[in-house]
């Protein structure tokens, strides 16, 4: 990967600036400069700022699907895989994490772009539901994960100390879940 295509580089710069400096500082000039490309060059690949946004969201969806596939086959199970990556990603340089951070910033800046992000969450939730005993467990795992992403987005230090406690977290969250066969002994919603 000595030389990623200019297009990829531009998209990467877009993400980095979004994730590190926030939407307030994202301009075509800034992206072009960071990517080592002229503004004209940038506009050759992405005809508008909106196209840049669409490119990011597209990438987010692709990377998320890849990650869900990895989660599905993770030996530790979906719950622990999800929690682990929500914690680890904060410091790791996984492409998905950077893309996610950028997307969060983007969507919170301009709520009209929220659909893709919602779709990604929804798919994660579906996968989670297939792998836990009840709805509440899935909900809590998701919420803890979203909390971690929130912290990362707010620029708080990584909570790496949680890494060693993943098993305990998962155990606690699953603690009250009904045993395998039946769903929720009191309330079920449709």
């Amino acid at each position: 990967m000595a030389k990623p295509s200019a297009r990829e580089r531009i998209l990467g710069s877009y993400e980095v600036i979004l994730a590190d400096r926030g939407p307030a500082e994202i301009t075509l000039d800034a992206v072009a400069a960071h990517a080592g490309v002229s503004k004209g060059g940038l506009l050759y690949h992405f005809g508008s700022k909106d196209a840049l946004r669409d490119g990011l969201l597209e990438r987010l969806e692709r990377l998320t699907d890849d990650d869900l596939e990895r989660a599905r086959t993770a030996p530790e199970g979906v719950v622990r895989y999800y929690l682990r990556s929500a914690i680890t990603d904060v410091t790791s340089d996984l492409a998905l994490h950077r893309t996610t951070m950028a997307a969060i910033r983007l969507v919170l800046n301009d709520p009209t772009a929220a659909e893709v992000s919602r779709r990604c969450t929804e798919r994660t939730r579906e996968l989670m539901l297939e792998h836990v005993e009840d709805r509440l467990t899935a909900e809590l795992v998701m919420l803890v994960g979203e909390g971690l992403y929130m912290r990362a987005a707010l620029g708080e230090e990584a909570t790496e100390s949680l890494l060693a406690q993943i098993d305990e977290i998962a155990d606690r969250i699953e603690a009250g879940a009904p045993a395998k066969a039946t769903i929720a002994a009191g309330h079920r919603k449709n």
Copy 2:
């Protein structure tokens, strides 16, 4: 209450636009129009856009402190109070919620303003630590709450169905905590 001062109205409009439409659409003109005030009038009260931001963050800090005081004396306990308001606030029109949403959008747009928000989180965490048995419990409660705020900020529908499950959520999270006192049995107060 029939007529809040123009200053308060302006700040309110600033919050509403931030929370509903996002930082991308916040301009002095938009705020002035929404508040029913001329641009000159706006600038009379807030000499610059930054002053508007500072006003919001100041209000956030004040409302947060008020809320922490309420949490401290809530009969259901800090944990349940915190979870309940993180769920309820999504739909309720409490001033704190709107201010928080606006602040989240603001901070994620311009990370340099993150300090106040961090301070509020820190104070909440401290209170939480005083009222739970161990660190992990506090951490999980906070994370679930932050997850809920994240969802609200992303514009997802309120998870009101969780309201009925607050006790179960709290029980699960506290499940593995070293038992200093009876926790799961009933509401514990301090």
